[in-house]
Structure formats: structure tokens, C-alpha cells
């Protein structure tokens, strides 16, 4: 297993290298430059040119890339071109809130999806099943921003039960309880989307497993239907679910952009938006690298979890 993990990590190095090159090219092809975005339109062309020269933006692309890569290898992600803070600091500040939001959303989403999916599958074609599948359909089709705005309207504007955005109540110290309080709406929005998709997967997976011979064996032993479903069937049904939940992790980075924007959540999503708006190349590069690492990492974790969940799979 250890050898397998090492090998997987080694394989991912050229992949990451390729991703950074492609990203670098795409970012630089986009019209506009950081300098255009940050200055007063009245400033003279000479001064602009000088600023570009100072930032190294006039160097050939390959040299810019190599400089960036050289810094990266020394653990330096560069400085933001808009706030002039180190990119690592920017990301460091933002990653916590995003991970909290992502983690909570996935957990809540799965916690909704698994029981609902089981109910849906064990009572196939019943009232409950139709209710669950309709609910899941709604969860998938309602856009995050729409649901988010709707919830803010109902729960923050009309009835001031929950905060409309941010991570801490202004003018207070914050604290865990306050943060959790602020997380309710954004987590709910993200979790509904996740649950909507996962209910279908859990249902389909359960339906397939419910027809298996070994469940008849389990029933023939005299086990309760509850044990048959939730131990014997579920363990098997969850194996394919691991993949689809894992695929959610990198997607959430993207999905959270809009949700974080709506709820003014001080996370990676917001930072991404800001850096794109201001053509902040170093920050964009770092965020893209982070997304790529997340994808590769979550794939690896999924594969490892797979072998833990399914004894038939062995890596070597």
C-alpha cells in the first residue's frame, strides 16, 4: 500500500507540471493585465510601462513561467499584485473557512442522502420513493445562487433568524458558536445540491445490492430486516458512493465560488473571484495549483478508501 501511494504521488508530479503550464498560458492569453486593473486611468503610458517592467510582465512568457516555478520550488507562491501580500498568506487566511464550509456541506449532504436513498430504494415505487426522487430532482435543479438568495430573503430579511452573510457577527469576537450560526445557510445551500445528486446514487446502488443473493443468505440466518439493510446491504452499496462523494470535493471549490460570494464567506471562492477580477496572476496561479492538487489528492484518497471498503480490491 505504501509503495502504491508513493507511486501515485510520483505519477502526479508531471500531471501537475502540465496543468501549471496550461494554466499559465491561459491566464496570460486573457485580455488585460494586472496593471490595467489597478491604476487610475489618467496615469501616463510611460509610467504604466515602467510598472510593467518592474513587475517583470514584459519578460518573455517562458521566463515568467520559469521564475514562477523557481519560486514555487523554494516554497514561495509570490506576492499578490493587488494587495501585495504574500499569496501563501492570502490563501492561508482563506483556506480554513472554505474547508470548514466544504467539509460541513459534504457531511451534511451525505447524511441527508444516505438515509433518504435507503428509504427510497427499500420502498421502491412507493409514495416515499416518489417523494425522495422528486426532492432529489429539485435539489439538483435549483441553482445555488437562487436557493441562497431565497433563503436569505426568508430567513434573514423577512424573519431575522439567521445572519445573511459573513462568518462572524460584526463588532463581536466571533467564536465557534457564532461561526456555526453563520454557517447554517451556506452549508444548507451547498448540502441540498450535494444531497440531491447523492440520493440518486445511493438509491441506484442500494437497488442493485438489494437484489444480491447474499442478502437472502443474511435473511435466512434470521437477521432483522434493519440489520440486513443497514449492515449487509449498505456496506456494499457505499463502495461506489465513495467515488461520487470524492468527486464532489474538487467540484465544491468551484461551486463554493458562487455560494461564498452570495453569503460573503471569506473563503477561497471569494479570493478566486477577486483575483480574476484584478488579473492577479500569482494568486490565480496558486489557486489553480491548489485546485489541481485537490483533484489529484481526493482521487488518491478515494482509491485508498476503496481498498479499505472493499476487501476484493488490493493495490500493490
Amino acid at each position: 500500500m505504501f509503495v502504491y501511494i508513493v507511486r501515485r504521488i510520483l505519477i502526479s508530479i508531471p500531471v501537475l507540471l502540465g496543468i501549471t503550464i496550461v494554466n499559465f498560458l491561459i491566464i496570460n492569453m486573457a485580455p488585460g493585465s494586472p496593471v490595467d486593473m489597478m491604476v487610475d486611468p489618467n496615469i501616463s503610458a510611460e509610467q504604466l510601462e515602467l510598472r510593467k517592467e518592474q513587475l517583470g510582465l514584459n519578460d518573455p512568457l517562458w521566463m515568467q513561467y520559469l521564475t514562477w516555478m523557481g519560486n514555487l520550488l523554494q516554497g514561495n507562491l509570490g506576492y499578490s499584485l493587488s494587495s501585495f501580500e504574500p499569496v501563501s498568506t492570502l490563501i492561508g487566511e482563506r483556506i480554513g473557512p472554505t474547508v470548514a464550509l466544504m467539509g460541513a456541506s459534504i457531511v451534511v449532504g451525505v447524511l441527508i442522502a444516505v438515509p433518504f436513498g435507503i428509504i427510497s430504494a427499500t420502498r421502491q415505487y412507493s409514495k416515499w420513493d416518489y417523494l425522495m426522487t422528486t426532492g432529489s430532482f429539485l435539489g439538483i435543479s435549483i441553482p445555488n445562487f437562487f436557493l441562497g438568495l431565497g433563503l436569505i430573503y426568508i430567513f434573514a430579511l423577512k424573519n431575522p433568524w439567521l445572519p445573511s452573510g459573513g462568518m462572524t457577527t460584526l463588532g463581536t469576537e466571533g467564536g465557534i458558536v457564532d461561526t456555526l450560526y453563520h454557517m447554517v445557510l451556506p452549508v444548507f445551500v451547498l448540502a441540498i445540491g450535494i444531497a440531491g445528486k447523492k440520493i440518486r446514487y445511493v438509491r441506484a446502488s442500494m437497488l442493485e445490492i438489494l437484489g444480491q443473493d447474499y442478502l437472502r443468505t443474511a435473511r435466512a440466518k434470521g437477521l432483522r430486516e434493519f440489520v440486513v439493510t443497514n449492515r449487509h446491504a449498505l456496506r456494499n452499496a457505499l463502495i461506489p458512493i465513495i467515488t461520487v462523494v470524492g468527486m464532489e470535493i474538487p467540484l465544491l471549490l468551484g461551486g463554493a465560488v458562487i455560494t461564498e460570494q452570495i453569503f460573503q464567506w471569506p473563503g477561497i471562492g471569494q479570493l478566486t473571484m477577486q483575483s480574476i477580477m484584478s488579473r492577479d496572476y500569482p494568486t490565480m496561479m496558486a489557486l489553480n495549483l491548489l485546485a489541481a492538487v485537490m483533484v489529484l489528492f481526493s482521487n488518491l484518497v478515494m482509491d485508498i478508501l476503496y481498498s479499505v471498503a472493499d476487501p476484493r480490491i488490493k493495490y500493490n
Binding site: 444480491q212 443473493d213 447474499y214 442478502l215 437472502r216 443468505t217 443474511a218 435473511r219 435466512a220 440466518k221 434470521g222 437477521l223 432483522r224 449487509h232 456496506r235 456494499n236 463502495i239 471498503a309 472493499d310 476487501p311 476484493r312
Partner: protein, 322 residues
Amino acid sequence: MLTDLLHIEHLKTAFKTDGGEVVSVDDVGFRLKTGETIGIVGESGCGKSVTSLSVMRLLGKSGYVKEGEIWFNGQDLTKFTEDEYRRIRGNEISMIFQEPMTSLNPVFTIGYQMQEGITLHLGLKGKKARDYAVEMLKKVGIPRAESIMNEYPHALSGGMRQRVMIAMALSCKPKLLIADEPTTALDVTIQAQILELMKSLRDESGTAIMLITHDLGVIAEMADKVIVMYAGQVVEEADVFTLFDNPRHPYTQGLMKSIPHVDSDPDERLTSIQGTVPSLLAMPKGCRFNNRCQYAEERCRQEQPLLVTVGEGHSVRCWLAE
């Protein structure tokens, strides 16, 4: 004289389908004593498996016993609640299935799956349950029983898995073992091993066996008495010697002549039964076998024959047998 351990009377089992109710077992009955083995033989769709699943009440969501009584050990199982049923499943009545490759749960160890029933019905826990399970595995001839406990099913061959299934089924010392095509999926040399094992365990424990198979060879090897099923009904019932010496139903006769076996003369042409088994949704009027029977008369096409006694313990459902 021993009383009957299992006594099924006028069993009728049906399934709900989109096209309405389908009766797949119609008026099946037999008696089975402790230590006795009854063979139920027939082709696919004849209702032999459904009969056995009716006894276990494992018919799934759409199946149900519609009519009839299943007397087991002096109690009518059809009156049992689901809770009462669970207490005898895997305990007093246990079952092994056709496909050893898919009958064990792939994500739990052999030990876990063995101990589950032992803990549930015998109340043994922890090391005691484990020791008991190891003991059972040894009994069914599994080498390295201790380490097999920690293996997952995929690591075992088909024959070994079927041995595990047998160990699991026998661990609570059932009074009745239902074996649904237990060797059909196995290679012949392995089948011989498993049949031998079942025989010796039966002789040792006195467990009654309901053996479902399509293989008359397995029947001849194992059974004390036999019922032959066709299209959901019992068409002939007899002790094993009478059945093989003097089969009275044209279907039984056809079945025996149509099977090429190792001892038969290869130059002799096989007698085949023409046509195919009728669909449950479109049973022929009269005798259900009439459209394939070479002796069918007008009466067979009009009236359904009843199961009538033609000799001691020998009954036949045929107009011509009278």
C-alpha cells in the same frame, strides 16, 4: 412411529406483478420426518425453489403464501408473525443456496458471517462464538479453519464457499435444512465432495433435508422420497426406489429417459419431451402437461387431474394412471 417434522398442505404461493397476480406454486403438499431427505425435482420455473422459499418465508416483497398450511414441529408457520419467523430462520430451519460465489457477503470476513447467526441464536459472544465457528468450519472439512475465519469470501474457491455455507447453516443445529440446488454451480469432483459431506453430516445429526435439484442423479444419491414438480404442481410423489423403478407420470418418465447419463448406451436415441414448459401466465386448460404429453387424450385437455394414490406412498397427478 415418528411424527412429521414438516407437513405442508395445499400450499399456494403467488407473486404480485404488473400484470396481476401470478400463482407459481399451486396446491403443493408433502410430509417429512426427522432425519428424512425429500428430493424436489423439476425444471426451471416448476416452482421447486418457490416452495422452499415459502417454507422460509423469503419470498421478497411481492411474493406471499396465498393458501395452505405449513406445519413445522407442531406449529403452523403460516400463522407466524415476522418476529416469530426470524427466531426459527437460521436456527431451526436453515438454508443453503445454489450460487456459493454470490451467497456470501463480499465485504465481511468468513468469521463475521459465521458468528452472526451463532451470536443471534445461541447467544454465544466473543471468543466463545469464534471458537464455535472454528469448530463448525473444521467439521465441514475446511483446512486452516483458524485463518480462514479472517479471510474474505473472494479468497475461497466455490467448493470451499459452499462448505462455509453448510457450516453456517448447520451451526445452530437446525431440525430442517433446505438445500436449493446446492451443487449445481460446482464442478463434478467438487459436487461429489459436497454430497458426501452432506450425507455424513445428515447421518450424524439427524437433520431432515429438503433437497431441491434438477439433477435426477443427485436425487438418486441423496433422497429417501421424491416429489416431481411441473408447472407449479406436484405431478408425482413416491419413495426414491419406487420412483426410479416405476415412474407413473408421463413427465417423470420423459425426464428420466431424456437425460443422457454416464451409464446409458450412446447408440440409443434420447427420448425428448417435445415443446417447452408453459408460462405461468398462460397455463393450458386441463392437465398442465397435456400439450407436451404423448399420451394426452381429450379428457386431459379438458379436466385437471387430481393427485391420486396409486400405491403405498405413491401418488400421481394423471388421468391415465388410474
